[in-house]
Assembly symmetry: C2
């Protein structure tokens, strides 16, 4: 059994806690947080500082804090003692973060995998796979269907709006153009679907205010639907997300299109599962003395899986 500590207890930490039981080779030791008297759902909670005195028997820490507040310092700190996984996603700082964690991990003979999730993470993996196989071609990433908090808040600022949820959705016309190698407008990659609660007398004016709002909606295909408060609560409370990585590659005169689609009913749950399987990979890589900090580009699928290599080859190759 691989002994896991969850560090941080926001949406992501809670999702890791909820889903670890589906991976029978992993066992959760507890949840570590800077908050005192943290109430957790399944596993016991401990103070973060207990991670620094070595009293817990932990194989891998899954860090679930935020990139801007916690991860840059925490992963570096904890990689002095443990194998670590994080979802650090501030793109321009990844090389520096990787370098820092690499130094501490190597010194401690530990293995860390950073910037894991679906983007950065699985999407990056697919993009690199596609571009390596067909070096000549065009790649594009589409987002959604997913809720955009920023755009939902922008709608809430329109006078008369009581509640609002905004989904970003790939523009299928643009997607088809990319996949057929036709020229397309980068501004037309996405559609914005807005579900708004407001008094009926204001509908026309609110719709006009939304679709003409600069920076957010003007110039983008925007659909506005007015719904009741009950309908919004019932049908639009989830955290869906996803997207499409696609490449229109050329081999000579032939077009070869590769696409990876992700359609997630719950974003934190899926990110959690990627972190969990990477925790297993870090443990296995550490056992085979691959010390330092790694990214998803450095892993093989035999690192990620819990099954023996011979079984994978027999059943899935």
């Amino acid at each position: 059994m691989i002994k896991i500590a969850i560090v941080g207890y926001g949406n992501l930490g809670k999702a890791v806690e909820a889903h670890l039981k589906n991976y029978p080779d992993l066992q959760c030791i507890g949840i570590f947080s800077r908050r005192d008297n943290l109430k957790t759902q399944i596993y016991p909670s401990f103070h973060y500082d207990e991670l620094l005195n070595g009293e817990h028997d932990i194989d891998v820490c899954i860090l679930c804090g935020s990139s801007d507040q916690d991860l840059m310092s925490q992963t570096q700190e904890l990689s002095q003692y443990y194998n670590c996984i994080d979802s650090f996603d501030i793109h321009r700082l990844i090389p520096e973060h990787l370098d820092n964690v690499d130094k501490t991990s190597k010194r401690a003979k530990k293995t860390s995998i950073i910037s894991v999730g679906w983007d950065p993470g699985l999407f990056s993996w697919q993009r690199l796979l596609f571009e390596t196989i067909t070096p000549i071609g065009t790649s594009e990433t589409f987002w959604g269907k997913g809720v955009s908090q920023g755009h939902s808040n922008a709608i809430l600022n329109v006078e008369g709006v009581k509640k609002a949820v905004q989904y970003t959705i790939p523009n299928t016309e643009t997607l088809k153009k990319v996949q057929a190698g036709l020229s397309y407008d980068k501004e037309e990659k996405h559609e914005r679907h807005c579900y708004v609660v407001a008094d009926e007398k204001d509908h026309d004016r609110i719709k006009q205010d939304i679709i003409t709002m600069p920076h957010y909606f003007a110039g983008t295909k925007t659909l506005v639907y007015f719904v009741s408060e009950e309908e919004l609560k019932r049908n639009h409370h989830g955290k869906p997300h996803g997207g499409i990585v696609t490449r229109y590659g050329q081999t000579g005169d032939f077009n070869q299109t590769m696409s990876f689609n992700l359609d997630l009913e719950d974003n934190p749950s899926f990110t959690a599962t990627v972190l969990i399987v990477c925790a297993r990979a870090a443990f296995k890589m550490n056992k085979s003395k691959r010390f330092g900090a790694f990214t998803i580009f450095d892993l093989s699928l035999t690192d990620l899986s819990d099954k023996p290599r011979s079984t994978l080859i027999k059943d899935l190759l």
Copy 2:
């Protein structure tokens, strides 16, 4: 420069020859075949036996023979002298083949990657990735749009048929069912679209003969289109293929659907590009002393790419 030998000169060998120039770190030494006086398009040809006397300076052999005739013996033979890549696809024999090549490769301190292409190959990779991330769920593979030679020949055997091309196409209704977690009929995974040249007076009878043909079409959604000989030649001469690997995964109460789509205008060209990038990986793995026989499950993307790891992380993570 990585020096490549192409072994075998059928559709796949010709495609590797045609596309190697798109990978600037790879250089083709020549094409090796058992045939005498082979006429090649770009690179010089040599007799296969010259591979056994060590007179050519070769880093990696890309073996392009057939699985049932050539590869089982050739990869084992050549891995005594060179790093080797093959597309061996007789599923039940892969473990034995891997084991054989592993022994010769390790003895010679060489690195081979076997059973490479898109299935076995990229499709296997995606299936394993998806199942590892969401261990609870349902996976399915759909084929096409692609020409089925066997089904085309079956149509040719119908009285009055002059020419015929049969495409296997994923049944989009069944695909939607799989991706929504609904029950579906395994017999209804594919549609069969038949393009047939025949005299008009025979059309009704031929159509009836096709759609009721046991083992091939009866019980499967089959569409028959009659076209002129000119139209068949103009629009149906390619070697398209592709398919969809999809997984309806569950994390708790949430459904998370992952899909990989391949839409290929030319099947041998695409398989060739996968073999080519694996040749690079074998060379790099050999330089870092990873000797033996490997599969696509054992590779990382940094092995496959020609770019420095720091560039990949900066540009694509």
